[in-house]
Structures are given as C-alpha cells and as structure tokens.
Subunit: 384 residues, 4 copies
Amino acid sequence: MNRKLKMGMVGGGRGAFIGAVHRMAANLDGKIELVAGCFSSDPEKSRLSGEDFFLNPSRVYSSYQEMAQKEAALPEGERIDFVSIVVQNNMHFAVAKTFIEAGFHVICDKPMTFTVDEAVELRQIIKNSGQIFALTHNYTGYPMVKEAREWIKDGKLGQLLKVVVEYPQGYATESINGEEGKIANWRADPQVAGVSNCMGDIGTHAHNLVSYITGLEVEAMCAELTVFIPGRQLDDDGNVLVRYKGGVKGILYASQVSAGEENNLTIRVFGTQASLEWKQEHPNELAMKFANAPRKIYRRGNDYVGDTANRFTRIPFGHPEAFIEAFANIYLEVARAITDRIKGVDAGDYDFPNEDVGLDGMLFVDTVVKSSQSDQKWYPYPSM
Amino acid sequence: MNRKLKMGMVGGGRGAFIGAVHRMAANLDGKIELVAGCFSSDPEKSRLSGEDFFLNPSRVYSSYQEMAQKEAALPEGERIDFVSIVVQNNMHFAVAKTFIEAGFHVICDKPMTFTVDEAVELRQIIKNSGQIFALTHNYTGYPMVKEAREWIKDGKLGQLLKVVVEYPQGYATESINGEEGKIANWRADPQVAGVSNCMGDIGTHAHNLVSYITGLEVEAMCAELTVFIPGRQLDDDGNVLVRYKGGVKGILYASQVSAGEENNLTIRVFGTQASLEWKQEHPNELAMKFANAPRKIYRRGNDYVGDTANRFTRIPFGHPEAFIEAFANIYLEVARAITDRIKGVDAGDYDFPNEDVGLDGMLFVDTVVKSSQSDQKWYPYPSM
Amino acid sequence: MNRKLKMGMVGGGRGAFIGAVHRMAANLDGKIELVAGCFSSDPEKSRLSGEDFFLNPSRVYSSYQEMAQKEAALPEGERIDFVSIVVQNNMHFAVAKTFIEAGFHVICDKPMTFTVDEAVELRQIIKNSGQIFALTHNYTGYPMVKEAREWIKDGKLGQLLKVVVEYPQGYATESINGEEGKIANWRADPQVAGVSNCMGDIGTHAHNLVSYITGLEVEAMCAELTVFIPGRQLDDDGNVLVRYKGGVKGILYASQVSAGEENNLTIRVFGTQASLEWKQEHPNELAMKFANAPRKIYRRGNDYVGDTANRFTRIPFGHPEAFIEAFANIYLEVARAITDRIKGVDAGDYDFPNEDVGLDGMLFVDTVVKSSQSDQKWYPYPSM
Amino acid sequence: MNRKLKMGMVGGGRGAFIGAVHRMAANLDGKIELVAGCFSSDPEKSRLSGEDFFLNPSRVYSSYQEMAQKEAALPEGERIDFVSIVVQNNMHFAVAKTFIEAGFHVICDKPMTFTVDEAVELRQIIKNSGQIFALTHNYTGYPMVKEAREWIKDGKLGQLLKVVVEYPQGYATESINGEEGKIANWRADPQVAGVSNCMGDIGTHAHNLVSYITGLEVEAMCAELTVFIPGRQLDDDGNVLVRYKGGVKGILYASQVSAGEENNLTIRVFGTQASLEWKQEHPNELAMKFANAPRKIYRRGNDYVGDTANRFTRIPFGHPEAFIEAFANIYLEVARAITDRIKGVDAGDYDFPNEDVGLDGMLFVDTVVKSSQSDQKWYPYPSM
C-alpha cells in the first residue's frame, strides 16, 4: 500500500471551529486526504462545504447514514478508510455507531457520547467490531506531555503525592454581563451538551491529562459546580477535590468565567523525588523541580528529551510547535494504526485515546455532576 | 516627640530565623531602635544575643515576665514603646497578655495564640486595654497587595465570582525521604505548633491574603488535610473548597511537600469585569486581565499605581522591593500608629493586621482541621 | 477554478529539514497539493522521496531542468502552478531562473541567491516575467508580527527612536568543543553557503524582521563578525550597530555559539509614545509598553487584535499557534495571489516577502560582511 | 569593640532619592547608626533633615568641611567611623578628598568623581591614606550576581566567548514629549553630571557588572551615543560594541528613552560549556543554559547555591530579596572591613567596589564618549 489514507468527515461545515481543526490536523503531514463528507444536516451547506474542500460532489452527502452506506459500497482503496466525527455531542453516539457498524474506523471529537449509557454501549460495539476508535483528547498529543508521562513511568518523580490541574477560561464572562460571546452556546444547552457545560467541555480534558500523564485512577471526588451566568442551567465553573487510588491527593478545577484566561490548562504533579509543571499555553517547555537542586527546564526537540516525545516532534528545538501539531499527532498515530491494520501489522504501541478513555471521560463528567449535587463529602468513582 | 520608637523583643535569639526578620523590618526605616529583649529562655543565650544586637546588658532579661516588669518601671521615653513577640506558637498568649497588661503595645508573630480560646481571651484583653496589637501577616505589607485591595474596593473587578489562592512549599519533601530539612521542626509538633502544621503555618497566610484583598468572609469550608511525612501527627498538605458569603466560590491550598516550590504564594481573584493575579515570588507586578482586552501589568512604584500602594513604596519602579520591605511596612504602619498615640492623635486609617485578624486566623485553622476530620461536606465557618 | 493549487518541489528529499517544513506549510490548509518534484540530485533518492510523498512516479524527476521542461509541457490545470525551491544556497539562482523562465511562479527558501549579482539579475528576470516570486522569510508570517507592523503603521509607538533585534542560537557551541552538531554543516562552507554563515542564515532574518515591522531602511552599519569555531572560514557570531534613515538607532546581533539559546529571535522597537516587544519562542504574545502606564499584553486571536493579524489566525486565543502556522501563512498568501492571478484578479495587498525583499537580504549580508572587514566605522548601505 | 559603627552622611537631605537608599542600606542589619551629617548645602534644610533622622543637632553641620573638621576632633568611638557621600557628581572629589584626608573611611555614590583626572588623583590619595573607600556599584551586591561570578571563576562556563549587557530605562521618554519626568534632571546637565548622562548614570553600571562577574578587561570599544531629547547636550541612549582582552566580544547598551523599561539591567555571558543570564528586575534567579542539556534555574537561598552568594543572603529561598538588600550588602561588607580595621585584622577577602573600580568606571565613561565622537572604528581602552 502506497497511498494517502482516505478520510471522510461528518459535521464540520462552513464556520464550524472544531471541524477545521480536525482537517488541519489531518492535512499537516501529507498522509491523509479528505475525500468525502456530510458536513451539515443542511444539504446545501454540506454541498458548499464540500466545494470549499475541493471534494468530488458525488461524495458530498446529505445524511451521514447515506454516507456510511454509499462509502461502504465503494471498492476498497477508493472508499474512505476512516471517518472523523465533529458533530454536536448529542449526535456522537448515533454517527459513531453507524460508521463502526458499516466497517469504518472512527476518529471522534470528545465527548464520546451524550450519556454514560451510550458510552458503555458504544464501547462494546467498538470492541466487538475490532475497528479502531480514537477520541481527540488532543492535549495528550503535545510532545512535552508525552515526556511528562515518561518521567513518571520511569520513576523520576518518585512516589506521587499530589496533582493540581486547572483549566480556566474567561470567554463566558461576557455572558454574565449580558453579551453573548462567540464561542458556541450550544455547549450550555443541556439538550445538546449533556449534563455539564464547563466540566464536560474542559474539565474532562483536565481529568484526561492527569490520567494520561500519571496513570492515576480516581477513587472519589468532592465537587462543587456553579452556574454563574444568569438563566443558564449548566455549570460554567467547577472545583473538585480528588482522591486518587494509592493515597494521592488532587485538585481539579475548570472555569469559563475566569476573565482574561484563555486556555490556561496547567498541570503540576508532585512526587517524593521531584515535581513537574506543564502549561498548555507554553507547551514547548516542561519543568522538573526538586526540593534541593536547581530547577530544570526541558524544551521540546532537544536530544536530551526522550524518544517518545521526539517521535511526535516535527521541527527542531527553538521553533515552537503548538496546538495544531499536537492535534495532528493524534491523527498521525491513528493513521499509523490504520495503515498497519491495512498491512496486517499490529505494532501494539499506538498512543492515542481510545474507547476506554472515552468511557472514562463520560464517567468523570457524570460523577462530578453527581458529587456536586450530593451532600456526601466523598462521592465514589465508578469502575468501568 | 522627636525620637525613634523603642522596641523590645521576646524570642528571636541567635539562630532564630523570624526574629532576625522582625529586627530587619524594624531597622529598615530608621524610626525604631531595639533597646531591650529577652531573646531566649536560656539566659546565657539571651545575653549573647543581646551582645549581638549591641544592647545595654542591663536591658537583656532572663525572662519575659522580668522584662515586662522592669521595662514598665522605667521612665517614659526610656522604656520600650512596644514589644515584638517572636517566640514559639504555644507561648504567644502568655507573653502577649503579660505585655499588654503591663501597658505595652505589641507586635506578635502569627499565629496570635495556640488555641482559639486563647485568641478569644487575648482579643478581649487587648480591646479592654486599648493598646495596639499587630500580627505580622506580612504579605499584606506588599504594595501591590494593597493595590489589589484597592482595585476590588473600587469595583474594578466588578462583582466577585471566584478566588484561587495557593501556597505551595517543598522543603518538607526531604523529610519524606528520611532527611530532616533545616526549617524548624517544632512546627510539626502539636505540643508547640497547635492543631495544624501546614495550614497553621502557611495556609493561614493564604486565607488572610484573600480576606485582606477581597474583604470576603468565609461561609463554609470543605477541607482535606493530609500527613504525607511518615511518623508525623500534623498535616503537611491541605486542599480546601471554600464558600464565601455572597455566592463567591474559592479554592485554597497549601503544601510543604511540593518539591521545588519555595514560597509560591499566589492569588487570583475573578470578577465579572476583570480578574487579578499576584505572585509573592515576583511581588512587584500585579496583573489585571479582561475577557476581551489586552492584559495590563501594573508595576510597583509607577505614578499610575494607587496612592495606598505608593505610600508603602520606598524606591522607584524597576528597582525591586521584596519580602523584608513588605514586612517593614507592617512595622512602619504600627510605628505610625504608636507615634500618633503618643502624640494623642488617631488618624483612623492604620493599615496593619490587628487582633480581629488574629482571631480570624485561629478560627480558620480550627475550622479547616475540623472540616477535614468531618464527613460533613460543608463545614460552617464560625462568626467571631 | 475550484481545485487545489498544484505544487512542485526542487530539493527537500528524505532527511532534509527545510523541505519538510515547506511541505507541512503547503499541506496545512488543504489548498495546495504536491504533485511533482525533483527532490535530490541523486535520482534514486529523488524517486524514493517521491514515494514517501505518494507522487505519481512519472512526475518525480531526475533533474530540475527536466522537471521544468516536462511540467511546462503538461496541460494547464494538470501541470504545477508553482515550484518550491529548497536546495542549497548556491543553487537557488539557477533553479529559480529556470522555473521563472519556464513560466512558473516560485516560492524560494532564503537566501534568494548565492551572490548579490545573482540577486540583482534574478530580480530583473522575475520583474520582466511578471511571475510571482516569494521568499520564505517565515517569521513575518506570525500574526503578532503582523500586528506589530500595524501598530507602527498606525503610529501607536509615536516616532521611532531605537530598535534592538537579536537572534541567538547555541547549536554550534558543540562544534567549538570538537563535536559536530546535527544542524547542516554546509552552512559553514563558503562554497555552498556564501560569504556568511551566521549572518546569512539567521542575521538576515533579524534584519528582515526589523524591515517588515518598522519599514525602516538602513543607512549605515558598523559590524563585527567573529569565527569562534576553530577551522571555520565563516562567521558564527556577529554584532552590528545600525543607523536607520531618519535618525533611528539600532542594534542587531546573531549568534550560533550562544549555548542554550535555541531560536531566541527577539525584537524590541522603541518610540516616543510606546515600545513593543515580541519573542519568536513565545509568538502568541506582543507587549506594548509605556513610559507611564501599565504594560499591555496583546494575545493572538482576540477581537481586540487587528484585522491583519486575525486574517492570518486559524484558531482562537489560548490555543497557541506556532512556527509551522506562520510558515503556512506565507504559503497561504502566495496561494491567494496565484489563485487570483489564475482568476485574473489583482487584490493588490498580498502580504509575503518578494524579490525586492530577497535582494535586500542579499545586500544586508554583503554589507555586514564588508563592514566587518572594514576599518571604516560606518559602512554605507547600498540603495537597491 | 562591641558597638554599632557610626556613620556620617554628606548630601541626602529631604527629598533626595539616593541618600534615603544609603540610609536604608546602612540601617538594615543593625550594625551601623547614622550619627552626623551635612545633608544639604542649605543649612536649614540640613537641620530639618537631621531632625528627620533623629540626630543630635550638634552633629548636623552646615558644610562638609566643618563636619570633617569637627568630627575628626571628637574622641574615637564617638566620632564617625566613616562617611557616606551622596552629593551630586561634581562634588564627589572634593568631599571624598576632604574626609579621606581627615582620616575617615568613605562610602561614595558613583561616579567616583567628575573627571578622569580627579579620579586618578583621588585614587592616589586614597591609596596613600590607607583608608577604606567603597563605591556603591550596588548591583554587585546581589547574591546571584556573586553566584554568577563564582561560576565563571570555577570555569563552569568554559572559555568565555561573548557578553551581552543592557540597561534600558524609559523614564526620560516623557521628556521627549515635552514633559519633564520626576527623576533628577541634573543628570542631564554637563556642569553637574559630567561628560555623559545615560552612559555615566547607568551604562557604567552595566560595564561594572560585566567586569565584576567575568573579570574581563576591555581592549577597545566602538560606541554610538545619541541625544534624543530636544535641547539636551548629553546622551540619553548609547550602543557599544566591545572587544574584551582574550578575544571575547561584547555588546553593551543603555538607554533612558526605552518607553516602559524600568531598570531592566540584564546580563548574558556565553562560554564554550554553558551560558548564564541574570535580570536585575528578577534578581533571585540565575539561569545556566547548555547547548544540549536542560536549562538550570538557580534560586537564591538554596543549599545548592555557593557559599559566597549565601554569605550575602538574609532570608531563605522563596521569600525574595531585592534592591535594598543588595545595596545593604555593600554596606555590610564595608562595615566588616572597617570593623576588622578597628580590631587590627585584615581578612583580605572584602568584596566591595573600591577606588580601582571607581577609576575604571570613569575611564569607561570617558572612553565611550570619545569613541562615540571618533571616526575610528575601534577606540582603545586605556590602561589604569
């Protein structure tokens, strides 16, 4: 096989933010081409979007069901190899199920589904199918996040004691003052977004980042979610104390009403030998701190950075890489897995968030909401 | 009256850290002179310390009781105007009570007392006496902390929504690994330190900083304190969710096992119009952030900074001021109050932490410990 | 016309760094497809590279002359629309001339040519041809660099007084110690690189950045270039005092022996009303500083940032963009110009470095080398 | 001897900035007391200043000559041990000479004198006298500056290659716009300040910092000084290329018209093994950078910092020290030297800027001005 992988897309038409990110992530490395799509539930908008992306009109579809069916009928090598799902949250389950069952691999924007039940069911469908499913918890694509994970695997921090992770944004502050911001308001609509806005949208990224870097599992949570924006039903801020298994303590918080914060996702992990700190807004640096030694600042792209991080690095040190490249690392890794599958190979070390991560994300949001509503101090975290 | 104020000191002999800081703070502005002291419960050590400070041997005492008595017997203008108390926590009450009752003003290192009951009693004694009592919650002495307080008073942040305050240190991490650090271990001894180590020592500073800057009062807390160091009884780490009156939400945490952190006290306050951020380790800057405008970085010493901050500023912008100057601002302000008192004046605007702040600090520590021990999610904060 | 633009590439085969960057930059936005190339002077390496990029073997050529000839013979819409030239410096002239004369638009890695004479000649050829020529002075593609340019155009800094620009790297430090670093050594070979290594490679970027942001023209320079690495002929460090027309003073320096620096390109421009500061390693921020007002930090992607910067912004604030996106902005803008040309449109506002910028870069390097060799304090800068 | 050292002061009356800094520096450690002074050429102002400082009126003098004479006539132990000279530049020579010749040690604000000739003469007078003379090049008092010096002495940077030192300020920008700033304008008056304003006031600090940290001696300089402020005679900006002995290259610049800069004195030293960076506005950190290893951030007060730095450290890590403490380190060290002298001891390792440093500072300013006026590219630096 010597060809680009063929990608389809559901959602992500003109004006949609996250669809554009997925396309850039797919384009970057020249290994994937977008060949088909159903970009909107509005057929005309879907058609125009297809034109924007220079697609053959015959492969721009009016419904995702039609797309799944017709693509499946195309000969191998012509039909799509996988689909990217970038529709609203409440549609994820149906679309993903349809394409998995039609025999396609799937990359899905998070959250995996609308409800925990759907997630449980979809995960089973995926596992039964043997298809590849990836969820774009894109922050795990940053090279220095992978470096952080390696440090902990290698014991460089010693025994873990504490984790502090935060994801403050400020864009919704304007809504408090009566102006609606430009970032999608459907996220605040429980019919579309699910049981949570802030925790579902960004808190879950914070949780996933802890999970990816440290491997820690939550034992119980003590949460307080708040709705600051008048007239809203879903949280726009949330603070959580976390007990991880093994006695590790944590703080996790997320906010959309922190004026002037943008995507200030920051994680600090403290161990008996050292601690680490990483900030998404300056993603090329990773700090290692010691109780009695000079701080060390590791910078992406250097020889002294580990092989895993360097495998996901495109350009040398000093020329920054950023969000799109990290997102593209998810695509790159899924592309490797799909290509291997086509070749009949299983390298066994694919590093992207899968359906288990997807279910865990749903459990996180569900538990944090229940904890917030509960008088019980420590709300137990369910096992998968 | 045209003379320096005369200061006595109890505690703070050779090798004691905080006593040296108090002396530098008192020295800096040339308005106070140390003239008497009982620097140690060991008379020989007290005597040698008196020599270090060039004191008249007749005014270096073997016990604080003797000191209070003999100083009170000296003529006005010769006897001390006030005493600085820098003994261990469990002695604060007795020493402060003695000097207040002997008619002296008091500057006391925090915490005010060993127990809440003592604090309640001492506060009453102070109020009855009419003497001046100041507690060195020194971080409130930083000019840009005062600027932050002014911003909130002036409504620049709009209605407050959320506060995040943290005080991580890492020095105790070595103790986890079996080595004892150089910072006083009596802080971990419940017989000396009280009911808490980490929260009592530094968590209370974080709480006080919120209180000073925002004026917010705690309604309830949900705390988890942890003892990570084997063999210890008192907390070396604590995480707290806070409900302030008026619907403001907060996170407060403190830690002594955060490897590589030093005194990384940081406060962020979020309002409907703007947010602020201040870091103790870079105290000359104060950031104001907006949902849709460029961040503004205010720097100490500039004309555009408010009068209150500038009143506590000694040198122009760009030449940093730091911890000792902030500490000295407490002394400077107490000296102003005492001088006014001597002159029979009451300016009414003295800006230093008093006995009410002292009691609140004791209540904070007591409540956070009780909350941590409780299964109740929201532990109510007592009124004074 | 509704199709992707078709790109050819000369140079940039397996293992070449800058060719890969050009391909990613071309790929990112899905508007350009690589369809042909001569990736190496070694035909087998060229062929294998063509496979890597999934090209039709019939369009992978053994020589750039063959490529130009055969592509020109293909029908419009099938043949390449433009070529990217990423060969070594001493080949730029010949390759660019060949493709321009064959009727193709050209994107060329910098420097434009090997000598000033070649640059003068090539510029004339380009102007006579009417073809589009772009030189990848990629740092001008950063949105906040464009914002900086707008500030100065809009007079926000007042009258300009001084510019400080620096580009320190450290990778060559290892060569001093006898180890050869991994970054291309041909840059130190005068037969390949030209009259300068450090100033030619990175100093010229610093100069271009000043020129782009401020519009200032150099009047005279006083340079000292140094060869620190034993056995080398070309500079690895250079310091320059600059006199710009209109009385503006400047410092420009570049270095490859600044241990621990990566690509720390930084520019500061000082005016009578304000100053600005931008750092390539944190490219999403641009600072505006005032003599007596709080500093303002502008961050990419916000509404308050100007239209020009926002036109070159792909994702919202807080999710960083970086080097590849900036590089892609050059491609995006050239693609717009070529597409307009195909459509018969001339928008007149294309924002990419052209042949005039290319010649100026050659003049800069030539003058800085001559200045360094001269005893004359102020070496005049030639007019174009 | 067990007493505080007795200090006199010439200059520094009400409203004078630098006199207040000297007094705080002297006060801080409780080892020095101000006992006498001639604070102004206006006797009434001098008298009032003496009251401000709680001095005995009999020791507040109307002229420095009277002061020198009368203090010398007092018995040892009562008369001043040393004098601090904080008058305007053009008076330094006369006052210093008077007190040296009267048998007193001297601490003098920089510059040492008004002219090079005076400096040569004063230096000889000092050396003949055997008295202690210290010049307050205060930035050398910062602990992490001392640490930097130790690194280079210990060879941690390898062989030095390059130095970049800068000292931009912005306060004079307002003067360009017709408003006079609050910082002393006599610095711009050649009758008072000398041959240079900006280079004399702050450029000389930058030069001294290089000299102190690296031990490098200047071989030749190529300078351009500029007067941007209309109507002024003396420079408010200057850029200098420097050749140090041993082949080390340098850039030094200083500016008072860099809007928004405060006292952004920054030094970077590059060697074959590592480089260092220190910024006066964040003085508690010192970075060590490597060509291929993580950056190390050293922070004041830690055990891993060297003994020299720690000897000048008053409070533990994390609680910042700043400008006044650094200034006080000069006083502390001079006090140690004077005390030893009184005791008849010579420790031989006193670490403060002396008359040789003072003369070098005058030579620097003189040479940089001559270089700027010269057409000669490399202006030789005189030997002392």
